[in-house]
Symmetry: C2
DNA sequence: TTGTAAGCGTTATCAC
DNA sequence: GTGATAACGCTTACAA
């Protein structure tokens, strides 16, 4: 790569000081139009662009934002990232992608990343266990936004959904279809969203005058295998004990349930209705297509980025009274995997 | 964010010069073990990490590699990126993600990116139209690797697959199933891979003693809609004119074909066998599951990164004789959408 | 309005 | 071996 021009070279050629070149480049008002033009001519002629690293060192701040993400082959992550990049490209910021593939990627890695002071803000996608650790950085003033976290709400700015209301909607929908024995396969209970979804499920049952049957509650791990395991447990029972609908805590586990149903020739939705949560890309293509709660992942990425950049803005005033929590609306997507109990009614 | 310690602070506290601190930090051999320890103690006590920006300015090189990618919601992109990050995390490099969402993102954007000198190398995923422009940067010495490009082979280091051989395999497989009237829906012809796939298709027919029928060649655009369009054209003809198998240029178009077949109640694979190309994530979940050629996208990302970093290595010697072209093996994935013409034979 | 010069936090080249 | 000191390329008081 040929040696690059510096601001000094431009200054020499335009016969001005480098301070003037800098002022021209940074659009400072107080500079003679004549000189300005002389400088700009040279700049354009040589297609000069100042060295970012030097600028950032002088300014003490970069135009990079770090994005801490789970492996990209996880569901929903590409969608979120897509939203992030859609916003970023309208700004002068760039994304530094920290993809945490290994389990060992823990706080020490995070420490180094932030100690290097390369990013001026951090977007943490599904931070999980890291949430507590991130908190200490936030306390120290690091602009930070979490997307769809999995912990108790903190004062860290956050973008996500209303898990309680969404689960309530999912369950109500099943009730409305006429189902009464509604099972729930939940995710790991140390996730806040899991607890919220469970609450929403219970509340919907209560409001319908029913009581949540502990026999119909199953523990999964948010992965297809755990969905399979729960489904096998369920369908191993006498058919009289089967639920007539299952609200599965996420789509991945629902895939496992559908797999078991297909293998055991249990008709979905005729024998049992299934509803998931997330609306991952595959869900519309399942056999049968999965009814689920749609999460606006791309929008989450977009809005989280917007929020983060506003926090980085020099004249940003944090609202210490009320933590910033953006809850995006979800919606129910009805597909084939759920149907009314009434055999003659049309599928809604 | 509290003011950070600098190498000067450490030097003062350890009562040495900052040069010594720098030497300790960079593992220079010539430094008294006693001093080394004194410095390291302070460093650890304060969890000191040198400012990356300053280091990079002094060194004249960064530890960032740029990744130029199409929108993340495109098929295969997340898989490639996942491969990239899997390699990157074992190194001291980080990824700067340039996601080109807008059509307008053209050479000028690229110019700025590279003029800023922030990245020490560039990975271009599906560069498409940008390939020519990238070439000029490569000429100027920018370490550059293209993944799965869509242009004539150049001397730019490249990672991809053998499209000719893969198409040959796909077509041969259909022939082997007993099909004789094999149609091909191809992508835009300005892509090199499209031409290669067409050649492979033709060669396989030729080698089987058949001649490619121009009536059975269709022009698509690599997107589901174009697949639908071609399928509608095909099935609008008298049934006697139908092909008994279709080799579709990529999975996305094959999805469109399957859609039309389902809508028109044309049995796949009984009435017509379908084979795609790519093995995108959805392909295994189509109705019916799509037979296709699997491309090792994650591996492509991994190997491209490895190659790029080796090129960035200071003691890298370019081989001007022979351009670096890594061709990764593909393989045929047989699923339900293809079957033997012989009605009584088992599906292979 | 413009130029001079002092940072920004490192690394690297010198002498010592 | 170690410590001054000059880069690295830019921004920004402060002077002029």
């Amino acid at each position: 790569m040929q040696k690059k021009l510096t601001i000094n070279d431009i200054a020499r050629m335009a016969q001005v000081s480098k301070a003037t070149v800098s002022r021209v480049l940074n659009r400072h008002s107080s500079v003679d139009p004549v000189l300005r033009e002389r400088v700009m001519d040279i700049v354009q002629q040589y297609n000069f662009v100042p060295n970012t690293i030097a600028t950032e060192l002088a300014n003490g701040r970069t135009h990079l934002i770090g994005v801490l993400a789970p492996p990209l082959n996880w569901p929903a992550i590409p969608e979120i990232l897509h939203g992030v990049s859609e916003h970023i490209e309208h700004t002068r910021y760039e994304i530094v992608l920290y993809s945490m593939n290994l389990e060992r990627n823990h706080s020490d890695v995070l420490d180094r990343i932030l100690a290097m002071r390369m990013v001026s803000g951090l977007l943490a996608i599904l931070p999980g266990e890291l949430a507590d650790h991130l908190d200490t950085f936030f306390q120290q003033g690091l602009p930070l936004v979490m997307i769809d976290d999995q912990k108790e709400p903190t004062h860290i700015p956050w973008v996500g959904i209303d898990n309680f209301a969404s689960a309530y909607e999912a369950t109500s929908y099943l009730l409305q279809l006429g189902h009464r024995r509604i099972a729930h396969i939940m995710g790991p209970q140390h996730y806040y969203c899991v607890v919220q979804r469970l609450e929403g499920y219970r509340q919907a049952l209560t409001d319908a005058g029913l009581q949540a049957d502990p026999e119909l509650l199953f523990q999964g791990e948010f992965e297809p295998a755990s969905g399979r395991r729960c489904a096998e447990t369920i369908f191993a029972q006498d058919q009289s004990a089967w639920p007539d609908a299952i609200f599965v805590g996420n789509d991945q586990m629902a895939y496992g349930v559908l797999e078991v149903a297909e293998a055991q020739k249990i008709q979905v939705p005729e024998a049992v209705s299934i509803i998931g949560f997330d609306d991952n890309l595959l869900s519309a293509h399942m056999r049968p297509p999965l009814t689920t709660i749609h999460q606006p992942f791309t929008e989450m990425g977009y809005q989280a980025t917007q929020l983060l950049l506003s926090m980085i803005d020099p004249n940003y005033q944090p609202d210490n009274e009320q933590p910033t929590r953006i809850q995006l609306p979800t919606h129910l997507v009805t597909r084939v995997s759920s149907a009314s109990t009434h055999p003659f009614s049309l599928k809604t």
